[in-house]
């Protein structure tokens, strides 16, 4: 039996329970401050089944973009982009919380929170009421940890992007053309021509790398944090794709 539509519906339901909470810190700027899982009894059961069958959660494109952007905003990216220029709020830990609603009429209550700091400090908070209900505690903690790990596993940018090859090919073709041009046009002896060609290869590689790794990457990260790629799903997606591309070309 084809289970594909069932899996898709299930993934859609789970994706819709992942929310990114933001807070307005001034009139224009709002910052994402936590990832929130809104769970209920049905979703808990679904997660239990998925885990029992060793299935994975496929994050939606929208969630992937939002989650990557949230993680980027909270990471220390000083090695790529000087945050001093950004007047940023500094880096922070990633926060994941789980809210649970026992029934439709009851308000959702935050029962679990994980704070993960890149510097190696991890804090897990459990609400007292939950701790007193051992069955629900097991279900919620397992679902919470599973969702966090599923997200973190899909968060890294894909470095095996196919488009890095055409770029590399274009670069080498351009260098070959330049070398051929020097070879046939310049009046020097062959030994000098070889030296010039070698110098062209080295210099262009250095310039290309510096341009790609330092300048362009810094520019994209800067605009993802606070600029043209900072707001709106499609802009963020474009910014992240560019960053992924530049990382692959690195």
């Amino acid at each position: 039996m084809n289970q594909q539509p069932l899996v898709k519906t299930r993934d859609k339901r789970l994706n819709s329970c992942i929310q990114i909470d933001s807070a307005k810190i001034n009139r224009r700027v709002s910052i994402p401050y936590q990832i929130n899982f809104c769970l209920n009894a049905q979703l808990l059961e679904e997660i239990r089944q998925i885990r029992a069958n060793n299935f994975r959660l496929e994050l939606s494109a929208r969630n992937i973009v939002n989650l990557r952007h949230y993680a980027l905003v909270n990471l220390p990216l000083d090695s790529i982009c000087d945050r001093r220029q950004l007047e940023s709020i500094g880096y922070s830990s990633l926060t994941f919380t789980t809210q649970y609603s026992a029934s439709e009429n009851q308000p959702a209550v935050t029962l679990f929170r994980s704070e993960i700091d890149l510097a190696g400090k991890i804090s897990q908070q459990v609400r007292k009421n939950l701790y007193q209900d051992s069955l629900l505690l097991t279900q919620i903690s397992q679902a919470h940890y599973w969702l966090v790990l599923e997200i973190l596993a899909q968060l890294p940018l894909k470095s095996t992007a196919w488009y890095s090859w055409p770029v590399a090919a274009c670069f080498y073709i351009a260098v070959a053309i330049a070398c051929a041009f020097i070879w046939y046009i310049s009046p020097f002896a062959s030994i000098f021509k070889v030296a010039i060609c070698l110098a062209i290869v080295l210099v262009s590689k250095l310039v290309f790398k510096t341009l790609i790794t330092k300048q362009l990457k810094s520019w994209v990260v800067h605009h993802l944090l606070k600029g043209i790629f900072a707001r709106g799903f499609y802009r963020q997606q474009l910014g992240l794709k560019l960053l992924s591309f530049l990382t692959a070309c690195n």
Binding site: R68, L75, S114, S123, Q124, Q125, R127, L152, T247
Partner: protein, 227 residues
């Protein structure tokens, strides 16, 4: 100087806390700065903060002062002040100690709520320093934990608070780079009937906490370089 936190990691530390309530924590630098700046014995007394926590609150204020003094000495910082070097260097040993001698030092931190426009702009300038913001964030986390603990102590004032572990880190595991694993437990859990459940919960936290951190590092590496 900007520091990459990954370079300075010597251990991954996982802690588990049982809390009365999980509240959203939004880091707004100015609010945190203001809250820590005004910490003093008279302020804590006014707020009726549990006396057992006073020293820990005051340490936050000391560390804020220390962070600012270090910026005054840092040539790479916009706060660098050549004229204050001698004075600051004299006070630095006192500010670096955990005692209460530092309370006699006149503060150099700019006042967050002030009639003077100069002071306000100094605060704004200070809150643009990434290094200072990072310290402020760490202090904020510790202050939030102390606030929670204070609330919990006040609520349990009439109850038996000896075995109360709410709002304190009841278990902490440090996975060190040299291979050592250090576990620390709050003494109160040893006398509780539910200690096995608590330990089991922390064990689960530790196992997944380490994986969570590794996931975050993977993301960071994917952004800065090809893996």
């Amino acid at each position: 100087m900007i520091q990459n936190p990954i370079e300075n990691i010597t251990a991954v530390e996982i802690s588990t806390v049982i809390v009365d309530e999980i509240v959203d924590e939004i880091f707004i630098p100015w609010e945190v700065y203001q809250a820590i700046y005004y910490l003093s014995r008279s302020h804590l007394s006014q707020l009726a903060v549990d006396r057992s926590l006073w020293d820990r609150y005051l340490q936050l204020r000391r560390q804020l002062e220390l962070a600012y003094c270090l910026l005054l000495l840092d040539e790479g910082s916009a706060q660098y002040n050549r004229l204050l070097i001698g004075e600051v260097k004299r006070d630095l040993p006192i500010l670096s100690q955990q005692g209460d001698d530092w309370e006699a030092i006149v503060t150099r931190l700019p006042e967050p709520i002030s009639d003077s426009r100069k002071s306000m702009s100094e605060v704004n300038k200070l809150l643009r320093e990434p290094q200072f913001i990072n310290v402020l964030q760490q202090l904020n986390k510790r202050k939030s934990a102390l606030d929670r603990r204070d609330r919990s102590l006040r609520n349990s004032f009439c109850q038996n608070s000896q075995n109360n572990i709410t709002d304190t880190t009841y278990a902490q595991t440090s996975l060190q780079l040299n291979g050592k694993i250090v576990n620390r437990y709050c003494q109160a859990i040893l006398e509780r009937s539910d200690r096995n459940l608590l330990l089991q919960l922390h064990e689960q936290s530790t196992n997944t906490g380490e994986q969570q951190w590794r996931g975050l590092v993977e993301f960071m590496l994917s952004v800065i370089a090809r893996r």
